[in-house]
Symmetry: C2
DNA sequence: ATAAATGCAAATCTTTTGCCATCTC
DNA sequence: GAGATGGCAAAAGATTTGCATTTAT
């Protein structure tokens, strides 16, 4: 497990070099905080963690680097739709097609995807209410103007 | 189809009465804009649409009513995780357990859910990159403190 | 030495809140 | 007429940007 972290830090350094990103102290500490975490933290939470090691770091630096890591493919956002609330007045069972570039959302009838089936047990005593399935990719327009 | 809209407006009025929400002109126009839309608009987009019918409406009113409609169960947000970016440095295939109340996110190994399978064709020439599966519900802590 | 990155402060964008006037029931 | 709602402006929260200083390569 510790081994895995060391390997991930190694990968991180290599990726940075490959992408022309300087391996700064701040970047390494931010990335390590992310690699250690399993709670899918917000930038603010990452900032608080990193501050324990680098009290002088600024929140803007955390944001700038999260953005840089994303662009380098070192991390992802849990959902690509966090920028602004997206509303859905269609309460019937259905799914969504989400364009990663333009963030357009299109309905997908429930029957166009095999029903989600959980195999085995869910980790905790989680009370499942429903499933959200997002099909991520590029819409026709974005795929062609690529 | 027009029929469906009329029926939805009827349901809307009934739900409002049942929940003790006054059926104001603004509310009806906001709800109708949402019911007619299929692009999962942002509050700002709803505001622009509604302004065509009620030029004097304020953005705050749109936000307040979206909130009220949500609480009344008349609409949903496409993802419950839009408040702040949630980061994921684990790029391997996996899913997420999301608590609708506290917004905690927990990893779910890829093999705990049957692989998502698309039945038939996707509507447009959409270039699928990957699937996001969110299991929504209440985490153990929130379910018990309910 | 050079180009990129950091830190700070200000700006921007999204969403919420307080308060008084207005409308629904 | 009472209490909920709307509009406006200000506040709060999240994220980005500009710029001078510092750091990595």
């Amino acid at each position: 497990m510790q081994e895995t972290l060391a390997r991930r830090m190694e990968t991180f350094r290599r990726e940075c070099v490959e992408r022309g990103l300087a391996v700064t102290h701040q970047r390494a500490v931010i990335y390590e905080a992310l690699a250690r975490s399993h709670d899918h933290p917000t930038p603010e939470a990452v900032y608080e963690t990193v501050r324990e090691k680098i009290p002088s770091i600024s929140l803007a630096t955390v944001y700038k680097n999260i953005r840089a890591f994303e662009e380098a493919g070192l991390l992802r956002q849990v959902t690509p739709l966090h920028e602004s609330v997206r509303l859905d007045a269609n309460l019937s069972d259905h799914h969504h097609l989400v364009c990663l570039r333009c963030k357009s959302v299109t309905d997908l009838p429930a029957d166009s995807i095999e029903p989600v089936r959980v195999k085995g047990r869910l980790p905790t005593r989680f009370r499942v209410e429903r499933f959200n399935v997002e099909v991520l990719g590029l819409c026709a327009r974005c795929a062609s103007s690529q």
